[in-house]
Symmetry: C3
Subunit: 107 residues, 3 copies
């Protein structure tokens, strides 16, 4: 693939408890993501945190998966904000590279 005409972006996927999803969405909106996609009612098991010595999620937990895409130069601030957000609650964040066709939508 040439990826001609596509623009490199950072994709942040966030898995949080349903109860924390509203706050997470607000944080995304105020921390550099111009939008997001939300998949509700996902479930999860694990992960072990060594500080806790217990599961981060159990199998019955109702979780939300939030997907936000933003320009690279904006992602550092968002990731820092999410790190603080997650510091006192269950949740995981996956950061990866993606390419989009309409970069102006994500600014």
């Amino acid at each position: 693939m040439t990826r001609e005409g596509l623009t490199r972006m950072t994709k942040v996927e966030l898995v949080v408890r349903g109860a924390d999803a509203r706050a997470a969405r607000e944080l995304l909106s105020t921390s550099g993501a111009s939008g997001y996609t939300a998949v509700s009612n996902v479930s999860g098991l694990g992960h072990h945190g060594y500080h806790e010595g217990r599961l981060l999620f159990n199998d019955e937990a109702v979780l939300d998966l939030l997907i936000a895409v933003m320009p690279e130069d904006r992602s550092d601030g968002l990731i820092a904000a999410l790190r603080i957000f997650l510091s006192d609650k269950p949740g995981v964040m996956f950061v990866s590279e993606t390419f989009v066709s309409r970069p102006e939508y994500f600014v």
Copy 2:
């Protein structure tokens, strides 16, 4: 990870309104994707498009997330077709790299 025995592919994720999902699925099938996975009833907020000066999605929009994986040499055509498809409607497309174990399934 060695990725030994895995084959590099292009993954296209498409977020469109539920009302556009059928047409999008047909376009995927006729433009180079041998299959797809669909996650229905996702929601979304944003993104700003500078031509519009308004939100691409509002929070109540019922969206579909379609995931298609294909060989790299086939993705350029599909991406071009999706770009045209999206030119007059809301929606975003994320293109990334992935690896699969059974490449013959995606041809």
Copy 3:
């Protein structure tokens, strides 16, 4: 993006029939993934397998999407196990790179 403070991991996405999801979850847990996220009731069409000459999934199939993230050095074993698991049933596996903020959760 600097990815400062983030740790590179391997993400495995698995799409299997709902009927195979329990076995797949158990396999993930016993083969190196400390946790996973599951999106239920997704649908899929395709993909062609040349051995079968038929669709891997039809449009009515009820599928599960399982997402597991693990350290790179653990992913080879998991991928090998999943390859055997998928050898006699429908399903696809996507392997990609991702970065996380709390690597200890995935060990």
